[in-house]
Amino acid sequence: MRAPWRLSPEDAPLKIKEQTIDSVVVVSLDGRVDGSTAPDLEKYISGVVERGNARILLDCSKMDYIGSTGLRVMLVGARKCQQGGGKLMLCTLRATCKSVMEASGFLTMLDYYDTRESALAAP
């Protein structure tokens, strides 16, 4: 029997897809951003910035969970983008994730847009 404290991998998959639209790297997140998947997301964002693309949009329309570790990774990502001369934007958060990010004040620190189109049109 699985110990109740351990999140099993099947509970926490995160699929990451990428496309570039008008010099913005759109990274689509599908699944949970928790302690088991957040390190992969951090490496992914770092990789994009290291390739010279510091303007990143995280499309969160299929992200169904974010925990403390995920929030930290988003902050680290935003910091790296800022240091690289760009910015990390977020769009289309589901209600549960949006409430976590609102409660923790992240939506006032990061650039959030309700739609992908409005994020892509942002200066």
Partner: protein, 217 residues
């Protein structure tokens, strides 16, 4: 790198190595939060608004952290962040404090001195012998709070602890505190463990104030 518990212990000591009073006198909650922060940054635990979970029970090599990690990993009952702060604060903070001080002495940052006062009573002090680390922590906090840059999550967590202790007034002038206030307010929410530590301390402070208000003169 020092742990959160070690860094906050450094800030709790004055120039003579005597412990400064903290808000609500609730050092145990600060230290419990510090240990949970270290476990979170070591990717051993994760938390959200409802629960704190163990992700990886592999020991970190730090006895302070590993004792708490084993406690969390071996507890079947689900608790939220506040539940774990209260549990650790009630059971393990004397050891956390002693081990953090021992490691600071081992690193050559503090020394331990036993002094007598009134010829009879013994008092132990921990004067600083290498003040660079403490100065670096204070400077880092000031830099983060007085700039508009996106902060490092580790600095956000540390600022939550310093704020919960009531030590920001020791780092900043009154004018700087006023300038940094909106950012402090924002950071209080951003680290979910730090936020809970701050809430617990605020509740203790309120309870003490109420008890003082209703106690007979």
């Amino acid at each position: 790198m020092l742990t959160f518990a070690e860094e906050i212990m450094l800030l709790m000591l004055d120039d003579d190595g005597v412990f400064l009073p903290t808000r609500g006198g609730a050092v145990e909650y600060i230290l419990a939060g510090a240990v949970l922060m270290d476990l979170a940054f070591a990717n051993r635990i994760d938390n959200d608004l409802e629960q704190l979970t163990c992700l990886d029970a592999t020991p970190t090599g730090n006895p302070i952290l590993d004792q708490a990690l084993a406690h969390i990993a071996n507890t079947v009952e689900t608790k939220d962040t506040r539940g774990w702060i209260e549990t650790l604060a009630g059971q393990e903070t004397t050891e956390i404090r002693q081990q953090a001080l021992a490691r600071l002495i081992e690193h050559g940052i503090l020394e331990s001195q036993d002094k007598k006062f009134l010829w009879v009573f013994r008092a132990r002090r921990y004067p600083t012998i290498d003040g660079r680390v403490e100065r670096e922590v204070r400077l880092r906090i000031a830099d983060v709070l007085l700039s508009n840059d996106i902060p490092d999550p580790r600095d956000v967590a540390m600022i939550c602890l310093v704020d919960a202790c009531g030590f920001l007034r020791d780092i900043f002038s009154a004018r700087e505190i006023e300038r940094a206030a909106p950012r402090v307010e924002q950071f209080r929410k951003m680290d979910l463990i730090g936020h809970e530590v701050g809430s617990v301390i605020a509740e203790i402070e309120r309870s003490v104030m109420m008890a003082m208000a209703i106690s007979p003169h």
